[in-house]
Every structure is written in C-alpha cells, then in structure tokens.
Symmetry: C2
Subunit: 462 residues, 2 copies
C-alpha cells in the first residue's frame, strides 16, 4: 500500500495522540499501560528466557522446577509485596526416548509417519505393535463396527477439526473426544492401540500431543495411544482405502511414574483499602514437552507477570490486593488449580475478579466472562475504554480449566480472548516455540489484561 | 490448554451451529459465505499461484502482464457476465542487478549492510558513492543543520516508526515523509545520497522498499535514495556516535524507463434489477518487486475474485451490478486508479459502495468507511450480522489511495480492516511471500467482504 497522500493526516494524528493523554485519569492511565507495554515492556524478553533458556515444562520435569525458581526470582526482582510457593503433588509422565511408526502396505514396503505419544499413554511392548488398522470418525462408530472388526487391530480416529467454525476452540472441542477418550473406548472392543488424527486445522507434518485418559479402565486393559500428523492421517486414510489389510507399526516407550512434589507460584501487591479482597491474574506454568510452550502457556505466564509490573511502573497503588497465580499441572491433571482452590476455601479468601490468559500470544480481541448479568452489565460499561486499542469482544462464555474451580468463590471469572486462527497450528506440537511469537501481539495482550485489572480495582464491580 | 472438561458443551455447540442456519435468509446466506470460503474456498490456491508461479509484479514488468492474463482467465473460468481489460500507461522503474552498501569505519575496516533502492530512485555512478554521513530524525532537522554540514554528505534519515500506536498504519504515516520526500529535501542542501531507515517496527535484517519522489527537483539535481534494514540502521547510528567521520559506500543501478502500456482488470455480474448501479470490490494487481507481493496486495486480488465467486456458488442473484476492479500501478504512480475514475466519470456510472482490500491477509477486524453520517448509520445496523464472525470494527476513517479518486462518485468508500500488528514486518520487503499467509485468515477476509457486498446489494443503502 502506497499512502503518501496520507501525509496530510500526520499533524491531526499527533494532535489526537497528545490530547488523548489528558482526557481523564482513567483514559490516560490505560493509555500509559499500553504505551509502556509496547515501548518499555518485559513480556517479550521474559518469554524469550522462559522459552529458550528453560524450554518445555511438563509437570514433574526438572525444567518445570527451573521455571518455577526463575519466575519466583523475577517476581522478587520487580518488588512485589510478597512472593511464595504453594506445594502441590503432580503426576510425572515421561515421553521416553523413542517414538516411531510406519505403514506397511505390503511386506517390506514401508513408509514412515510422524507420530507422538499422547500424554498419559502407556508404552508399546519393547518390540512395538504391528497390526491391521480400522479407521473410524468417532466413538459411536466403534459400537456399530463391533468387536469382531476391532479385536486385535489398531483403531485410527480420523475425524478432522471442523473448518467451518470461526472460533477454532469450538472446532477443537468438537474433535477432542477422540484424543481424550478414544483409547479407553477402543480397548473395550479389543483394540491393541489407537492412533488419533492431530488436533490441527492445517495439513502439515507435526503430530500434536495432549492429555488422554483411560478413565476407570484397569491397568491390564490399557492400550497405547499416539497422535499422527494431519498429513500422515490423510496418507494413512487414503492408503487404507486402497488396501484395507495394510499393517501399521507403532513403537513408543513413554511411562507414568509416581507423583512428585511441585509448586504453584504466587505473588501479590497488597491493597491499600481492601487488602482482604483479591483481584487475580493467572496462567499455567507447565506446558507440553515437544516445543518450548511459548504460546501454551508461556505467553500467559509473562503476561500475568507484566500486568503487575506495568501497574507498578505506572505508580498505580491498588485498593484491593492484586495477586498473580501461576498454576502447575494444568496440562495433565489440574492439581495446581485444585490445590489453590482448596487453600482459598480454607482461608475464606474472597476473589472479586479472576482473569486468565491461556489462548496464545495472538492479537487480543477482548475478554470472555463467566458471571451473572448484573456484573457483566457493569463491565460492559468499560468497553469504550478499550475502543482505542481495538479491543471489542466482551461476551459471556466458558472459562478455562484452571479457573473453573474458583467458580463458587469469585464474582467474575474472565479470560483474555485472542484471535484463534493460528493457535492450533502450534498447540501441543514441537512448533509451539518462541520463534512464532509476535512481540507486539504479546505486549498488547499484557496491556489489555492490565487495563481490565486496573478498571476492576479503580472503578470496582460493586 | 487442556479443555477436556469442555466436552459437555459439544452438543450445545452443534445445536447452535445447526439452528443458526435457519434463523433467516440473511443470516443463513452470510453463514453460507463463511462456511464455503473456509471449506471450499479458492482464495488460498489462487494466491499460491499468483505468488509462487508468477511472483512480484512491479508495474511495467513482464510478471505484471502475466498476472493480468492469468486473472482475466480465472475470471472467465468462474463465468462472470463480462471480463475486460482497461488499457493504462504505467511507469517502468527497474531495480537493476546490483545493490550494495557498506560502512567504512576506518580505511579497510568494512561492514556490509542490507539496503535496497527506493522505488523511483536514480542509480549511483557506476563506481558507487562514498561519503561521510549526517544522521537526522526528520526533514525539519535538515534546515537546522544547514547546507555547510550536509553538502557532499550522505543524509541518513533514522526516525523509527512509533511503537506506541496500536494501529501500525498510523505509525507508518508518521515515519513516511523521510522515505517519500527525504531525497528531494536533502538534495536542496547539497547531499549526495540518502539512506532511509526501513518502515518496519521490528528489528531485523530486511530492507523495505517503497515509493519516493523527487517532486519538482530538476533531473540534474536528483540524488540516489536507498532503504536500510532496521538492524543496520541501529548499527550505523551507533557507529556514527562512536566515529562521526566514518564513510558510507552505496552502489545501485536502478533506472527509470519511459512509460509502458498495461491494464486494469475488470469483471462483473450484471444486476437483475438495477444493472446501472455498481457495487465495487477492488484491490491492486501490481506489487513491489522484492518479495512475491502475497500480502500487498495479492491477498486483496484473490479476496476480490473470491467475493464474486462465493456469491455465485451460493446462487445469489444480485439486484445491482457487482463489479471487481484490479488496479494496476497502485505502488508507484496510481495511474490505474486514475484511468478507472476517468472512465466512470465519462460514462457517468454510479457506484453505491466501493470496498477495497489492501491491508494484508491477516485476521479481519472489520471495516473502515469514508461516507456521510446517514449512510454510516445504515451500515451500523448490519453490525449484528457480523458478530458471529468476530467482526466488530466499524468506523469512519481514511480509505486507501486507489479508491480516493472515486470519492465524488460513490456513496460509500470502504476498506477491509485487518489486524495490523504483523503487516509492516513483511510490507515491501523480500519476506512479503506466500509462506507467511495464514489460509484461514485469508479466507475469513474473503467471506467478510462477501458478506458486506451481499448486505449492500440485498438490503441496500437508500
């Protein structure tokens, strides 16, 4: 775009820019949060450290403990009033050193495919599993195919995420049952393993891991579960249609260990007027192990840290206590969130609003809220404050898992909502890495969260 | 994000998804446009062809003529009622084969830097130019420094785009005068060349080209102009502060040729009720030459094509004439837009609404409109139709150059507004390529444009 004819607007813009600073203290404070985040922010360099110097942070791993230590130190460095660790027992599942699969269309005729173990899966026997494949679209189809067609075979769940949804999280929810419950269900019909199409709207070569569960299935009945890349799911499906008797070979040596001790990281700025009332920002410090967890949820971690830092460096003194909680073990168990909700019930702490960031470092569109109409109406009155920043989405919706447990305590649960089109390209795969982060999108997210926390504290909800 | 607890929402979502189809014919038609774009769209494969098989399309180049031929054929293939080419004379500027620059901090101590000629610049002498450098932030600073400090030197314009702006186009406008008018101004004070910091908010190694003008400066007084990458602008600045007497060497052999013949590509579906009234979609078919112009403005080209195709494949029969214009020579002259505006004045054709796409294939946020309050109020009533697609931005603002000339004719000028955070990473540089396109973001843009065109035709503005 050539816009030299736009030059005449220049003086007008600068005029607007300067006067905006003086309209009112609310507007100017919010403007200051955005400008500081974009010009003197720490979000990006913090995320670089967490992603590149520490890396993937699966619960129970050494990396997770390193991340917890580092975050605690950074929170002490930015001079919060208090910083502490809450001990939590977390599951320890380890991927192991070897994941391999191939399609054998005829003896000796082998094509390697890209797979990864699903989180929580058992290993295959040492020599791997080789079996015929039955392809299904959903859990119901297992029943209609029946044990006689499944017994001894590998079940291949190949229902794609629905591309027609605008919100890709809805498409994810619509495909998720295969990954989460596919193995437990297929085992009931005698399957020897399951292969699940990766939760990815794009066709590419990266398998995407994620949590699976055997439910109440006894240990002796459990079968290995792996995800296959979308390109290889398409390949496998077309090869099956040519040769329904082809063999699939899977070998993986992941393992579940006994639970180990870990921590939620908590820090806060004490309120001047109502120290007993808490306004919470939260994210999860753990991640999957394939990438470095920059989007899920490294971005959320540094955005929460940056919210408190931005409010401090703009000299804002909160009336209520502003607290940050970085939950451990969101990805495969949720024990961090559970431990936090238990301690706040026990202490009878009151949360006014809890704001989560767990949808990747993409351009923020707004917020979702899980609250009653009355509180939502009050929050809607703040919408004009966000208009200069193109933050337009304010809606009632479901809030992510870690915050679910606060439901009975907090007046308002909320979540930062980012543009979701690119999220599932990276999610739970080896390409969820720092290189895919856009600095400005991350920073605008931090400022947007800080603005909501500021408004909640300064104007109040009641 | 682990959201297995969301599974219970699944049935609810599908229910909403299905019932949404039947609410009314307006909503269901719009839903159909989005779903068809995302599941059976041509935007992405068209853009792949235009970007990878044709490539950069600077006015006057063979590639531009190939693009014009290809687009015309595709428009015939999708069975528009008529497709034609409007002849236009366009400038022909050629980059040449050699662009090179270095910093010589002391004799023999040389560091190469990344530069590219600005569009329209003259070449250096064959052996290049070596001179001392004077760094300035803006055009006004030249005056205060004065001829005695500038004469015989290279002027280095190094004012960064302002990161505090949320809309990066505003930051672009605020830095653009250096690139567009810097050479003409510096030449008046005896400068021998100008180097301009690339219009890029990010620090990286890619120089960004773009249009420059010598204004009324006589040919004998003109001096070469080049852009330098943001990393190298930072490097040069810090080296100047250590050694103000360092030398800079620049060599380039770009050249202006006489104007050549080219074409605007025009196609239309004739209206059933008001064939003389035109609803226009437009983009520019030319691009800069460094990358393949996928974002600027290949995306706009295929989105406009897709608007007409989507309306056809969803069996919509427009009441007004729906026309597509792909302007040539937007980047360095604007002769295509001028020729189109001349012909419509001559023919006294009436445009109801003209919708441009020229802000890259990023997630659409909404539209800007250049129109009177009355029309804007009517359009605002359509906003709820866009809510399911997270299209929330409807505002009065400036519209891009090609459409400017329609101002006296059309009731409403409008532009698709995308999220702007990533645009200037790629803009006019060698990394504006197809690999940086997100398929879904592009497709949602096409559907969003199609929805506005449908509403304008079906509901009407008057």
């Amino acid at each position: 775009m050539n816009i030299h004819r736009r030059l005449f607007l220049l003086s007008l813009i600068f005029f607007q820019f300067i006067t905006a600073q003086n309209i009112s203290s609310v507007e100017s404070r919010i403007s200051d949060l955005y400008i500081k985040s974009l010009t003197k922010g720490m979000s990006y360099s913090w995320l670089e450290h967490l992603s590149k110097n520490i890396g993937g942070r699966l619960s129970g791993s050494l990396n997770t403990e390193r991340a917890i230590d580092w975050v605690r130190n950074e929170l002490i460095n930015i001079s919060l009033d208090s910083v502490w660790l809450q001990p939590v027992m977390v599951p320890k599942w380890v991927r192991g050193s070897f994941e391999y699969a191939n399609i054998e269309s005829s003896p000796g005729n082998i094509i390697n495919v890209n797979i990864c173990s699903l989180g929580g899966s058992i290993a295959t026997p040492k020599g791997g599993i080789k079996a015929k494949v039955v392809e299904v679209k959903n859990l119901e189809e297992l029943k209609s195919i029946g044990r006689k067609n499944i017994n001894g075979k590998i079940v291949f769940f190949n229902r794609p995420m629905e591309p027609g949804f605008i919100d890709t999280f809805k498409a994810y929810e619509g495909a998720l049952d295969q990954r989460y419950g596919g193995a437990a269900e297929a085992a009931k019909y005698g399957a020897v393993a399951v292969i699940v199409r990766s939760m990815n709207l794009r066709l590419d070569d990266y398998p995407h891991t994620g949590e699976m569960s055997y439910g109440s299935l006894p240990i002796s009945k459990r079968i290995p579960a792996a995800a296959i890349s979308t390109n290889d799911a398409e390949l496998l499906s077309s090869m099956i249609s040519l040769n329904p008797n082809l063999n699939f070979f899977l070998r993986q040596d992941c393992k579940n260990y006994p639970d180990v001790k870990s921590y939620n990281v908590i820090g806060q700025i004490k309120g001047t007027d109502f120290p007993e009332k808490i306004i919470l920002v939260g994210a999860h410090i753990d991640s999957w192990d394939l990438g470095d967890g920059a989007h899920d949820d490294g971005a959320g971690v540094v955005q929460c840290m940056e919210v408190l830092r931005l409010l401090k460096i703009t000299n804002y003194k909160p009336k209520n206590t502003l607290r940050l909680v970085l939950f451990v073990n969101e990805e495969n168990g949720g024990s961090g969130a559970k431990a936090y909700s238990e301690i706040i019930s026990k202490k009878r702490e009151k949360h006014i609003l809890a704001l989560e960031s767990d949808s990747g470092a993409f351009a923020p569109k707004g917020f979702v809220f899980d609250t009653g109409e009355a509180y939502f109406e009050r929050i809607l009155k703040w919408k004009p404050y966000f208009q200069p920043y193109n933050i337009n989405l304010f809606k009632i919706d479901y809030i992510g898992t870690d915050f679910r447990l606060l439901n009975n305590d907090a007046l308002v649960l909320s979540g930062l909502k980012t543009d979701s089109q690119r999220y599932f390209i990276y999610h739970h795969s080896e390409i969820d890495t720092f290189e895919t982060i856009n600095k400005r999108e991350l920073e605008i997210g931090s400022a947007t969260m800080a603005a909501l926390i500021f408004l909640t504290d300064y104007i109040g909800l009641e």
